[in-house]
């Protein structure tokens, strides 16, 4: 009996084009959109490039010290700090306008930096950061000069110490590596995307509830009078649904990883395992909604779509800062939002590997599933109805 129900549920689910669309095609399409929309994002705003600058000074009036520093900084090996163009003022201004250089150093006795004006919207753009870096660099050079003159005038005997210290420009910081992850936050869109797909597995599960409940459909009545235990029948269908939906999710994940080259920074196995748990959660959610009272199928579907989209939105599918915002306003929502739980599982895996927090997430997801399924079963268990 179990097998019979299982096989037929599989057939049914895999033939429902509309429902397959949501779990199979929609995430792929959205993922492709993400791919195109974000392909430029991490490159253009964050990864460090060499900063092009122009230097001008009249012949013989050059500030030797400054030029020395520039030389040193533009000749480092891998990613030099600066690439310097020596030119005259007018050309330099033109270069600045064309955005071919980010700043102009006017390096005679007084060294100044000229930058292009920025708009309010550019405050955190690459250009703004580059300008700030140039400014910080200039500031350091100038303050060194001030200190040097000051000290030499007060303590001439320390001059050599100072000079050697200044030549030997020290790096005092040590960068800690707390994770193997590159902390690329674009990937969280894809985390949320998969979480969304997990929630969408609730759509076919809704049908299971409807088609087994005598007061919801003729099919339900038909099945209620067959000589079989409802528990076994429903369990077979749910399992079948979970497996078929998991298959769709797997296709999606493979598409993201191998076609769109999204780097999840954790093993495929762990991603799929998490998806599987998410899938159980989604299916139980759909089953629960389907079992609730005598609302029409359309209304129940509406509830599913709205709740899923709301969960996804709050978890940051559309705007990635949403989750932090929710966390600061009402952290409890994040605790119970299944999308956050799924997407946070992926995040945990990618940054920390398998740890306590990962298990907490899994546990929360399973707990939600158990609650939904048992509540659904309570409502749908074999009974006689007061009215059909």
């Amino acid at each position: 009996m179990f097998l019979h129900e299982f096989v037929y549920e599989l057939k049914r689910v895999l033939r429902q084009k509309e429902e397959l669309f949501w779990v199979l095609l929609f995430p792929m399409i959205l993922g492709t959109m993400f791919h195109f929309a974000f392909s430029n994002l991490s490159n253009s705003t964050e990864i460090f490039h060499t900063i092009p600058v122009a230097v001008c000074a009249e012949e013989k009036k050059e500030n030797q010290a400054f030029f020395q520093v520039l030389d040193a900084l533009s000749q480092t090996k891998d990613t030099p700090f600066l690439s310097v163009t020596r030119t005259d003022w007018e050309t330099a201004k033109q270069l600045l306008k064309d955005n071919s250089v980010r700043g102009i150093f006017f390096a005679e006795e007084n060294v100044t930096l000229t930058c292009a004006s920025l708009d309010s919207s550019d405050v955190n753009s690459t250009l703004a950061i580059e300008q700030s870096i140039l400014e910080a660099f200039l500031k350091e050079f100038l303050s060194n000069n001030t200190v040097f003159t000051k000290i030499v005038s007060q303590n001439p005997e320390k001059m050599n110490d100072i000079l050697s210290l200044m030549d030997n420009r020290n790096i005092y910081g040590k960068q800690l590596t707390l994770t193997e992850s590159n902390l690329d936050n674009v990937v969280q869109y894809y985390f949320n995307l998969i979480a969304m797909a997990c929630l969408f597995t609730s759509f076919p599960a809704l049908q299971i509830a409807l088609k087994n409940q005598a007061n919801l459909s003729a099919l339900g009545a038909r099945k209620s009078i067959s000589p079989n235990s409802k528990a076994i029948s429903v369990a077979a269908q749910l399992l079948s649904c979970i497996l078929s939906q998991f298959f769709c999710l797997t296709v999606n994940v493979l598409y993201l990883i191998y076609i769109l080259k999204v780097d999840f920074q954790t093993s495929l196995f762990m991603i799929l395992f998490t998806c599987f748990i998410g899938c159980i959660m989604g299916v139980s959610f759909g089953y629960f909604i389907g079992a609730i009272g005598q609302l029409s199928e359309g209304t129940k579907m509406g509830i599913l779509i709205c709740t899923s989209m709301l969960c996804c939105f709050l978890s940051g599918l559309m705007i990635n800062t949403m989750r932090s915002l929710v966390k600061s306003i009402c952290p409890f929502i994040n605790v119970i939002n299944p999308t956050v739980r799924i997407s946070d599982s992926f995040l945990t895996l990618s940054i920390y590997g398998i740890n306590e927090r990962y298990f907490q997430n899994l546990f929360a997801l399973l707990l939600i599933s158990v609650i939904f399924i048992s509540a659904g079963c309570l409502m749908i268990r074999r009974k006689t109805y007061a009215s059909l």
Binding site: E18, F26, F36, A37, S39, N40, S44, E46, I47, F48, K93, V111, T112, L113, T114, C115, A116, S117, D119, S120, V123, A128, I129, Q131, S132, I133, E135, A136, L138, K139, E140, S143, N144, V147, K150, L165, M166, R169, N170, I171, Y172, G173, K174, Q175, L176, L178, S181, L183, N185, Q188, G298, C306, F313, M318, T321, S324, L347, I351, Y352, R357
Partner: protein, 388 residues
């Protein structure tokens, strides 16, 4: 006017449903617009970052360094917690984590090389910038220390020196950009296409679909109402419906932004947004002429709205989209809408010119004409197929 009346009746029935959409979506648009940052002064300003400081030394020197950074950045004190640190970095709530370990001051005085630790987002600009600033500070401090200043004196001198060297940056005004103080409105209008399109497609398509349902459509064709009159009535109904929705959104923005809306820029925004309506109606007509079942309507809606929104720069600013993406999105009407919105707000760095604004509106109008032409062709084709 029978068809029109029937249209209104159908529309009234779906009113609660649509109102729900309206509240959700206007909530989203407002949330987005209020979460956006406030405009800043256009004069040169070093980039302000969010830095987390973990001070385990609690010494004069460590406090001095924190204080120095505090003059330029947003600091938040935190304790060492690996997951909290990485989470904050991943979600970009903090850009940089500085750890001042126990013994920081002692090691500084001893002249040791590695003094502090950092956790950064790998390969990101902003961290290089903070590195640079901290190094500059420590270098200067060490110069003073080498010159036998006491720690307190050295700290004071350093602060002095660094604050004196700040007036060496000039800003070159490249052109007269329109800068503004009403960012909220622009964000509201930036997300409006997504919201309006969603509502129109979710609300209008099902209504129109009922009229295209084969049996009903045949019955109306058999009646004495001519096809032209029927189509005109439907069109009129759709226009009334969409206009109502649009007015609701304009009113909402009016309530939240008040008089700011009635400046030249605000009116330009409103004018621009008006052209979203025919786009929505046209697309809705096309979808409905295929008379899809209700669950498929949802499917098409989501693909079209989310797809257009991502490709045309509603969720991700147009400036950050890749060249190839933009070359595709030029063939979508929202692209030109956003271009206009950027033009008015100055987000894209373009100078506002009335001709450009009008040109973009013109292109939108062409798209609208094209969409309606397609809708007409399809409906013609469909009705011919019915009649054979």
């Amino acid at each position: 006017m029978q068809v029109f009346k029937a249209f209104l009746k159908t529309a009234r029935k779906s009113m609660p449903h649509n109102l729900m959409y309206f509240f959700i979506f206007s909530g989203i648009a407002l949330a987005l617009s209020f979460s956006s940052k406030n405009p800043e002064d256009p004069i040169f300003q070093s980039v302000e970052l969010d830095i987390g400081i973990i001070d385990q030394d609690h010494s004069t020197a460590s406090k001095a360094l924190s204080q120095y950074l505090n003059t330029m950045h947003q600091l938040s004190l935190m304790t060492y917690d690996k997951e909290a640190i990485l989470d904050q970095l991943f979600f970009r709530n903090l850009d940089y984590i500085l750890i001042l370990p126990e013994g920081f001051e002692t090691r500084l005085l001893l002249g040791e090389e590695t003094l502090f630790e950092t956790v950064q987002i790998p390969g990101v600009y902003s961290s290089a910038f903070v590195d640079e600033q901290i190094n500059a500070y420590l270098n200067t401090l060490k110069l003073y220390l080498t010159a036998d200043y006491s720690l307190n004196d050295a700290i004071n001198q350093t602060a002095d020196t660094l604050s004196q060297t700040s007036n060496h940056v000039r800003v070159l005004e490249l052109d007269d950009k329109k800068s503004s103080s009403m960012n909220g409105i622009y964000y509201y209008y930036q997300y409006l296409p997504y919201v309006i399109m969603s509502i129109i497609l979710c609300g209008l398509t099902p209504i129109l679909t009922t009229f295209w349902e084969p049996n009903l459509s045949k019955r109306i064709s058999c009646s004495s109402t001519s096809a032209l009159s029927r189509n005109l009535q439907l069109a009129f109904g759709s226009i009334v419906y969409c206009f109502g929705i649009w007015l609701l959104f304009i009113l909402t923005s009016c309530i939240f932004y008040g008089s700011e809306l009635f400046t030249e820029n605000g009116l330009l925004c409103i004018g621009n947004s008006f052209f979203l309506l025919p786009v929505g109606v046209g697309v809705s007509l096309i979808i409905s002429s295929f008379a899809p079942p209700s669950n498929r309507i949802n499917m098409y809606n989501n693909i079209i709205t989310l797809g257009m929104s991502f490709l045309c720069g509603i969720f991700v600013p147009q400036q950050l989209l890749g060249e190839q993406v933009l070359s595709v999105s030029k063939f979508l009407p929202f692209y030109w809408y956003i271009k206009n919105n950027n033009l008015i707000s100055g987000f894209s760095g373009e100078t506002f010119q009335m001709e450009t604004y009008q040109k973009n509106i013109g292109i939108q109008a062409l798209f609208i004409a094209a969409i309606f032409a397609v809708a007409l062709v399809i409906s013609k084709y469909k009705s011919e197929r019915h009649s054979t």
